[in-house]
C-alpha cells in the first residue's frame, strides 16, 4: 500500500519542449521524480543543461537542441525518437500589444512558436506512429485567450485559442488508438514569459488582486497538473482543459 501511486510515470518515455525554463523545467523535474525517461528540447542549450542537472536519475534522460519553428529541426528531432508514452508542449512567447498596434512580424513569431510548432511537431509524431497505445499528449495552453480576455493579449490569446481547438481535434482523432490529448490552462505563473518591466509593479499588484487566491502560481503547481494528465490516473480523460489559475476564471 505504501508504494501505491496512480500518478507514477515509471519507465514512460516523455518528450518535453520548452524544457529550458519555467513550466517546462518544473514539469521535467516532477516527471523525473516520478520515474519517467525524458527527452528534453529547447532552443536554449544552457537552460537545457541546467534542467538536466536538476533531474532525478540524471543518466536516463537526454536533450536535443532544436528550433521547432523550423521544419528541418522537427524532422530531425522526430527521427531520433523511437517510441513515446507522452509529450508535453510548453514552448511559448508573448508580446503584449493593443489591437491597434499589432503587426504581422510579431504575430507571425508568436503564432510560429505558440501554435504552428506544437501543431506540426504533433502532426509529425502521429504520422510517424511514434506514440504508443495509452500515450498522453499535453499542451500548455493558457486561460488567456481561451477563458479570459485582457488588454494587449490579442496575439497571444489568438495563438493559444488556436492551440486549444487543435488539442480537441487531436483528442478526437487519436482516441481510437487510446492516445489521449489534453491541455493545462494556467493563469499567470511566476516564469520568465513576460520580460521584466513589461508591466509596472503597481499594475502587477493590481492584477494579482484579480486572483481570488491573491497570488500568481508557481511552475510546479502547473507541472503537477501535467503529471496527472500524463499518468494513467487520467486514463479516461481526453480533450479536457485543466484550468490551474488560483480561481481567476471564477470572476
Amino acid at each position: 500500500m505504501i508504494n501505491y501511486n496512480p500518478f507514477s510515470l515509471q519507465d514512460k518515455t516523455i518528450l518535453i519542449t520548452g524544457a529550458a525554463g519555467g513550466i517546462g523545467r518544473a514539469t521535467s523535474i516532477e516527471c523525473s521524480k516520478l520515474g519517467a525517461k525524458l527527452i528534453l528540447t529547447d532552443i536554449n542549450e544552457e537552460g537545457l543543461k541546467k534542467t538536466l542537472e536538476l533531474l532525478d536519475n540524471n543518466d536516463s534522460h537526454c536533450y536535443y537542441l532544436a528550433n521547432l519553428t523550423q521544419d528541418n529541426d522537427i524532422d530531425s528531432l522526430v527521427a531520433q525518437i523511437d517510441k513515446l508514452d507522452g509529450m508535453v508542449s510548453n514552448a511559448g512567447v508573448t508580446k503584449p500589444m493593443p489591437v491597434k498596434f499589432i503587426n504581422k512580424y510579431d504575430f507571425d513569431r508568436i503564432l510560429s512558436v505558440n501554435t504552428l510548432a506544437p501543431v506540426f511537431l504533433t502532426q509529425r509524431l502521429l504520422k510517424n506512429k511514434k506514440f504508443q497505445k495509452g500515450a498522453s499528449i499535453v499542451f500548455t495552453v493558457s486561460i488567456g485567450g481561451v477563458f479570459t480576455t485582457a488588454f494587449g493579449n490579442a496575439m497571444y490569446g489568438a495563438s493559444k485559442g488556436a492551440l486549444q481547438v487543435f488539442m480537441k481535434n487531436v483528442a478526437l482523432e487519436s482516441a481510437s488508438q487510446s492516445i489521449r490529448c489534453n491541455s493545462v490552462n494556467p493563469g499567470m505563473i511566476n516564469t520568465g514569459l513576460l520580460k521584466p518591466g513589461t508591466y509596472s509593479e503597481e499594475d502587477r499588484q493590481k492584477d494579482i488582486q484579480t486572483y481570488p487566491m491573491k497570488r500568481y502560481g508557481e511552475p510546479r503547481e502547473v507541472a503537477l497538473g501535467v503529471v496527472y494528465l500524463l499518468s494513467d490516473a487520467s486514463s479516461f480523460v481526453t480533450g479536457h482543459a485543466l484550468i490551474i489559475d488560483g480561481g481567476k476564471t471564477l470572476f
Binding site: K129, E173, Q177
Partner: protein, 78 residues
Amino acid sequence: MEIKEFIEHFAEQFDDTELSEFTPETVFHNLEEYSSLIALSIIAMVDEEYGVALNANDMSSSVTIEDLFKIVKTKIND
C-alpha cells in the same frame, strides 16, 4: 505508379490491421478498423503522394483496393 506501393501507402493509414490483410482484392470497407477518419486519411494520402483529389463517391464506389488504385491511375493520366 505500382499497385504494391499504393497498397503500402493505403495500409499505413491503419494502425491495428495486419499488413497481410491488404491485397489488391481486399474489400476495404469491410475491414474492421475502416472508419470515416481512415477514409479521410486515404483521401489525404492520395492527394499528398499522387497529387490526385479523390471525392467521397470515388471512395464509396470502390469495392476493392485495386478499384481505388484504378481510379487514382485514371485521374493521374487525366
